[in-house]
Symmetry: none
Subunit: 243 residues, 2 copies
DNA sequence: CGAAGTTGTCTATGATAATAGACAACTTCT
DNA sequence: AGAAGTTGTCTATTATCATAGACAACTTCG
């Protein structure tokens, strides 16, 4: 507590500054990934010493709310999205449960041909006609993952247009009469983001990604679609049930 | 902030102690006039040094919440309510301006007959039917005053029931179409509390009270009601405009 | 009166808070 | 390459926070 200038309140100055910045993050004045004002500028707005601001930022950084980058600035750290891996996980439910607003956006929908591996996953013959949907999912305004989805073009005609309208894979399947579905075995690996995904995820080159490959089946066990998703590793953590 | 024992929270220890005691006063664990535990005892319950407790008590004393008596103890000081005397003072506004929560409670509503003095104040004939309302007013949970109000039973039928529901004399008048009113001449005297009022005000026998007699008029100058209020002198101070 | 318990005041010590200035190390942009 | 702006680190100073011990001054009760 400074208490050299104002009456002693019993609350340290750096705490007041930290609380002020945290409020700014909470109410959206500073969004995830945003750059905070410089330490000097913050010091001036709160009328305190720069070191006091650094004390406040250090407290926020320790809690993972902000991240300082030397020479560049201090950034709001997107809080990691807890992503439970179960057979019935829906992205919108997961994001909503975290109190954030889920969004989906279609990047591209193109025709494709089944490779031998895709054909095996989907229970089709090699060379069968497929629809390939490239989409991005966000929580609030933060990109979480990009995913490539393949569906049978014969079973789901015009799937691209339907996804563009509904922005949800669950709703797309419902449109074709699939009331419920379950996720089969899920493979998780890690890698480094490529240039295309880096741009889409608003991620710096060289940063790690989590790669998830999974196939969804209907309740009779017939494969519906197979997915290849790339998650920004710094924005998500997967939770696996133990027991 | 101690920060010698626990992780630095940015809030001073004495502040935590002071807040704890203030909460105790606010929620009634320590009532007005009560003796607080000794400084040593408080220090033990909060596991801090006695000097830290003294710092907390000093902060509370400066705000008028407690009062230390050397050799005896520290007592909860009923903070005196600043009560400005103007022609348009409303109890709820005064209490609310002090950051406290105003309450009103009906004690008793009975039929009465106008004495000669009451009749003169209210512009009625001696023996006219009146409604007599006995009520108590509180700030937070502290009784401030009990007042006896007389209204014309003919002009304000069932006034007792209306006051019991609204708990506010202003709202009662509004219910009968009186949009605004003003206070006439106010007489202030002092006396000693009697047993009945002592119990209602939670006041020790023999303590002083401020007695206020006033009559409220509508904007045309017609008398609406007349009041006889007894204030706990140690909990209120009247402010009169100078100039 | 005398003992016990209370608040008031003094000195002392170490840790924390806040300020101030200077410079290094790094990033970004021209 | 260079300038400007950013965070990181160092030294130094002053005020506050918290603890510790001792004793005075006072009240209450037996």
């Amino acid at each position: 507590m400074s208490m050299q200038d104002t009456a002693s309140s019993g609350v340290a100055l750096w705490r007041l500054v930290a609380d002020g910045i945290e409020r700014g993050i909470a109410d959206g004045r500073f969004a995830a990934g945003d750059k905070l004002p410089g330490e000097m500028e913050i010091a001036e707005t709160y009328r305190v010493n720069r070191h006091t601001v650094r004390r406040a930022l250090a407290a926020l950084a320790e809690r993972g709310l902000v991240r300082a980058e030397r020479g560049s600035g201090t950034y709001v750290e997107a809080q990691k999205l807890a992503y439970p891996l179960r057979s019935r996980t829906r992205f919108s439910e997961i994001v909503g449960a975290g109190g954030r607003e889920p969004h989906g956006r279609l990047i591209e929908a193109t025709d494709d041909i089944a490779t031998r591996e895709l054909a095996r996953e989907l229970g089709l013959k090699t060379g069968a006609p497929l629809m390939r949907i490239e989409a991005i999912r966000l929580a609030d305004r933060t990109p979480i993952c990009v995913s490539t989805t393949w569906l049978s073009a014969e079973r789901f005609p015009d799937a691209g247009a339907v996804f563009a309208a509904t922005r949800s894979m669950t709703k797309l399947l419902a449109h074709y009469g699939v009331r419920d579905y379950r996720r089969g075995a899920t493979r998780i690996t890690a890698g480094i983001v490529d240039a295309t995904d880096a741009s889409r995820l608003d991620l710096a080159l060289g940063r790690p990604i989590l790669v998830v490959d999974a196939t969804d089946h209907d309740l009779e066990g017939r494969p519906l679609l197979t997915k290849h998703s790339r998650f920004a590793a710094e924005r998500v953590e997967f939770l696996v049930e133990n027991g």
